[in-house]
Amino acid sequence: MTTNNDSRPEQRPDDSRREPHRARDFFSVPAPVKRLFDRFPLITYPANELPHCALSTQRGNRLFVFTDAAGVRRGRPSFNPQCLKWQAYLKFVGIDFELISSNNHASPSGVLPFLLPSPPADISTPIPASKLQKWAIEEVHCEEEQQLNVRFEVYSSLLDTGIRNAWLYSLYLNHENFEAVARPLYVNPSTTNSAVRSALAAQLQQAARDELLKSSTYIDASALEAEAAEAFEALSTLLGDKVHFFDRPNPGLFDASVFAFTHLILDQNMGWKYNRLGQLLSQHENLVQHRERLLKFF
């Protein structure tokens, strides 16, 4: 015990002298680089004030989606299929909400849409898209449609794979469409700096390409379009001459998922330059009418 205590003060200085040497050998920064970085931060700004805009005083549910100023004012459909799906679903089940134009960087989970419920609920917890249905069921006691029909999940996979992949290709990887549609909607509102714009655009296209290359070794445009054509055909057969999918009296989540794609594909205001999906979809009259019926909600 005494030897331990004696040896300690002896060891300490030795140890502490040794450590910095070693650290310098392995981790030290070259002198010029260190001089450069010593000058940072050049200036430290005071912290931003918390935002206190008019919105925070309002009491409604707020849904954050991709949209523009005009879309917010008139409650127009969002131009992003994921956002539009949930926007339409909440409208169909009769929940009031207010649209807020936003982007991915504002979302706690990194993706839009998300919803901030009105203050009586827990104000601090935003609800991501994956939990929106559960929240809506608790709010207005609508039915959970997945439970009613086994085909719900099965036909949903058509939207999640076939149609979505074709959408990604035609929006992001088709050069003309990207310049005419995606760039004004997703890239230009973020910034006016052209260098940042081109970097953002390249990132978007790369993300879409990576997503498509996950399931195949190369991107085959004709195969993607053929899959989408098959998917539209299957959906059209499933709908038949009924008013809503699965013969429900009111439109529900599945109608919203289909509408999210069919509306954007058929919407003239999107300004498609090359719209093969639109041609394929127009062959199915009942899907076109289904979209027109649901558009009346907006």
């Binding site: 070259p30 086994v150 085909r151 099965v154 996979s157 399931s215 190369y218 085959d220 445009a221 195969a223």
Partner: protein, 438 residues
């Protein structure tokens, strides 16, 4: 003309190790007369111009992927070899939807089970590929497939099935501890994780997630199958959906893996489906040994034809290609070229306008890549020029000489310190045992 079906070779006592290939084999053995096709276990995607397997070769025409092959067979035989010809409109819609469902959902689970779950990959999948691949592909292809499977399943958030990932995380924690505490590296206790310990913990974390994923897949299928002998109602004959299902699900059911969560949950959640798939795969595939595929005259029920042995040229190009694919900037250029080649190829099935625009796009992309290379080179040159201009190099050289001298003296000190270490340092200090209590 005999059709040649090129596939990944046999594994897990199934005729192929890949789900799409299995589905295509099932379709051929149901639809195509036995003397009109041969099965070649080439196990090398580069045999086909599309770099994909399964691939069907008919003379000089190549068709790849299950769906395209089924379409091609229908056209080639004028509808005679079409298993879906008698389906009603609603059944056809069901067939499309269920096919897409089985493909997307089962692929994710197979990726998790065969590739991402580390014990299964290292103990079963990787050796199985080793048995069917030739040198040097056996060192190149399995890691590629492994990485592809990992990136496909990343959004599911189940990376803790992957022991490698866990180990890297531990290493990061470990080095963070060193940096934070300035504790000598040798004295940080490194917890040795045993495989069973890891599994015990991760399986609790993953159990709920995996339960949900498997239930989403198996319950609709079990319900759709019901008491029938195939998936689509009112049909005695089997459709392309049955082929796809037996291809994908037999890979979930048959392989005898160290960590059997997928097989167990399939048998538990869908007993009828499991029996059905097992019956079908025995009927269509039998039990296949790896040697069957490489000897043309076998007792197997499938028309195997031995693949060509790799020639020196093929081996050389494989090595060069994989080297080029591993080089960062070259990789991007090659990827774009691949897109352009398929677009410009006359038999790619694109209309002239489409292929032109695709090719133009690919060319634009390679321009981008060249531009970024030029930018990087310019940037580095500017930095170097600036450093020379300021005189950084000369200043550093002087400094280095001094450093060297100092290092010599330091080295001696270090050696002395290390010699003294065992005598004077009490190890238990660092392991957190309270010496004062002694």
């Amino acid at each position: 003309m005999v059709l040649e079906l090129h596939v990944w070779g046999p594994g897990f006592s199934l005729p192929s190790i890949d789900a799409q290939c299995l589905a295509t084999i099932a379709y051929f053995s149901l639809a195509v007369p036995k003397d009109s096709w041969v099965l070649v276990a080439s196990s090398d995607p580069t045999v086909s111009p599309t770099h994909e397997l399964p691939a069907l070769k008919n003379g000089s025409t190549w068709v790849s992927r299950f769906r395209n092959i089924v379409d091609y067979l229908r056209q080639y035989s004028n509808g005679a070899w079409d298993l879906d010809r008698d389906l009603s409109a609603l059944e056809k819609a069901d067939s499309i939807a269920f096919s897409s469902f089985v493909e997307s959902r089962t692929q994710a689970l197979l990726d998790l089970s065969l590739y991402v779950t580390s014990q299964n990959y290292y103990n079963s999948t990787s050796p199985a590929y080793g048995a069917i691949l030739q040198w040097p592909n056996q060192w190149i292809i399995p890691p590629q497939l492994h990485d592809a499977a990992k990136s496909r399943t990343e959004p599911l958030g189940l990376s803790s099935l992957d022991l490698e990932e866990m180990e890297q995380q531990q290493k990061r924690d470990h080095s963070a501890a060193i940096a934070a505490g300035r504790i000598p590296q040798n004295f940080i206790r490194r917890p040795r994780e045993t495989v069973s310990g890891l599994l015990g913990r991760t399986s609790q974390q993953n159990q709920f997630r995996l339960e949900a994923l498997t239930a989403e897949l198996f319950q609709p299928l079990e319900e759709a199958l019901g008491d029938k002998t195939n998936f689509l109602s009112g049909q005695a004959a089997r459709s392309s959906l049955d082929c796809l299902a037996v291809g994908y699900l037999s890979l979930a059911l048959v392989p005898d893996l160290p960590h059997k969560w997928l097989r167990n949950s399939m048998q538990r959640k869908a007993p009828r489906l499991s029996q059905h798939i097992d019956r079908m795969r025995r009927e269509l595939y039998g039990t296949v040994n790896v040697s069957d595929a490489f000897s043309s005259s076998g007792g197997s029920s499938l028309p195997w034809q031995a693949p060509d042995r790799a020639r020196l040229v093929t081996v050389g190009t494989t090595l060069l290609n994989s080297l080029a694919d591993a080089t960062p900037i070259l990789k991007d250029i090659r990827l774009n070229n691949r897109l352009r080649e398929t677009a410009e190829a006359s038999d790619s099935g694109l209309s002239p306008v489409e292929s032109q625009s695709l090719a133009a796009y690919a060319r634009g992309q390679s321009k981008d890549t060249l531009l970024s290379i030029a930018t990087v080179i310019g940037g580095v040159a500017a930095l170097l020029g600036y450093m020379v201009h300021v005189g950084v190099f000369s200043a550093q050289e002087e400094g280095e000489e001094e450093d060297h001298e100092q290092e010599h003296t330091r080295d001696y000190e270090d050696q002395e310190a290390e010699v003294q270490l065992p005598e004077s340092v009490n190890v238990s200090d660092f392991l957190g045992v309270n010496t004062a209590a002694l």
